[in-house]
């Protein structure tokens, strides 16, 4: 069975060459990943990042952008390892949203 991420040789359309500048949040994802995998910390490996992205399933490639997949994978990895807890992540995410909403309305 050819898994969805293992794409070599499959049919596809033309290469779309439009490029986008990386948004600040995307660079933040990349930067966090570099810190988590560096020699000083070794919290996770790039192999775990990839494996978790593969486990997001085929829909992830159609529905999510590159750094959305990265962030989903990093989040799952950190939860699996117990670096962060589900409850505290949920609370912090709600706090961030509330903060941004306040800033937007200001």
């Amino acid at each position: 069975m050819q898994r969805h991420h293992d794409m070599g040789g499959l049919d596809a359309g033309p290469v779309e060459r439009t490029e986008h500048d990386y948004a600040p949040w995307e660079k933040r994802v990349d930067a966090i990943m570099r810190l988590l995998t560096d020699k000083k910390r070794r919290v996770m490996t790039v192999d775990e990042l990839r494996r978790n992205i593969e486990e997001l399933g085929p829909g992830a490639y159609d529905e999510m952008s590159y750094y959305q997949r990265w962030m989903a994978s990093i989040g799952n990895n950190l939860l699996e390892k117990g670096v962060i807890g589900v409850d505290e992540l949920g609370r912090k995410m709600a706090e961030v949203e509330a903060r941004w909403q306040t800033a937007r309305e200001a």
Partner: protein, 210 residues
């Protein structure tokens, strides 16, 4: 206040939280939250995170281009580059990191092109972040099976008597193409030569033009 504006979402992309009147994008919220939690827990400091973000920005294809230009001018350097690209880059003050980079040389007989069919492995420390197309389905699927057709979409035609060699970075090696030096460049200095070398020439989807 922002007007309602026509903004088709044909595929997900990040929304700036202070511009559009929509829910905040889930993974943007998550990366903010995870960063704050990891700082709270002492996994890294805010200063380390800022520095890491700066490092994402710091690399560009200009680094790879410098290495190419030096290799064109100095055959001994080229030999060292092909043997150990990380060490050769360090000679020019470029930290190419710990992951080994293998430079593959375009010649009269062989044109090389690099890819990662399984994900997005790329010589980031010499070329910066990869372009979107390198990481997307069409390139990853088709470059291994119909490389000449894909290169033609980039406007690059490789003659039939030249071997087209595709490198799929499936493991811990990264690849970078050493493109051929174009004719008519004998009078150019190293910086001028480097300025000719674009990112796509070091991926292999383009050739250097004088």
């Amino acid at each position: 206040m922002s007007e309602g504006h026509d903004h088709p979402h044909t595929h997900p992309h990040p929304n700036q939280p202070d511009i559009e009147d929509q829910p905040f994008e889930y993974y943007q919220v998550m990366v903010e939250a995870v960063g704050e939690l990891l700082i709270d827990k002492g996994v890294f400091t805010a200063a380390e995170l800022r520095k890491s973000i700066e490092q994402v920005d710091a690399r560009s294809p200009a680094d790879g281009a410098r290495v190419v230009a030096r290799a064109w001018l100095d055959p001994a350097y080229k030999g060292r580059l092909l043997a150990d690209a990380n060490a050769a880059a360090a000679e020019l003050g470029i930290d190419a990191g710990a992951i080994p980079i293998q430079v593959v040389e375009n010649t009269e007989d062989v044109h090389n092109v690099i890819c990662c069919t399984l994900c997005s492995c790329y010589p980031r420390l010499l070329l910066g972040l990869p372009p979107d197309w390198y990481k997307a389905r069409a390139y990853r699927s088709r470059i291994v099976r119909e490389p000449r057709a894909v290169l033609e979409e980039f406007g690059t035609i490789i003659p039939d008597d030249v071997e087209l060699r595709v490198h799929d970075s499936t493991a811990d090696l990264r690849y970078m193409v050493l493109p051929k030096r174009p004719g008519g460049t004998d009078t150019l200095g190293e910086a001028e030569l480097a300025a000719l070398v674009t990112r796509d020439c070091m991926i292999g989807t383009a050739v250097v033009e004088a």
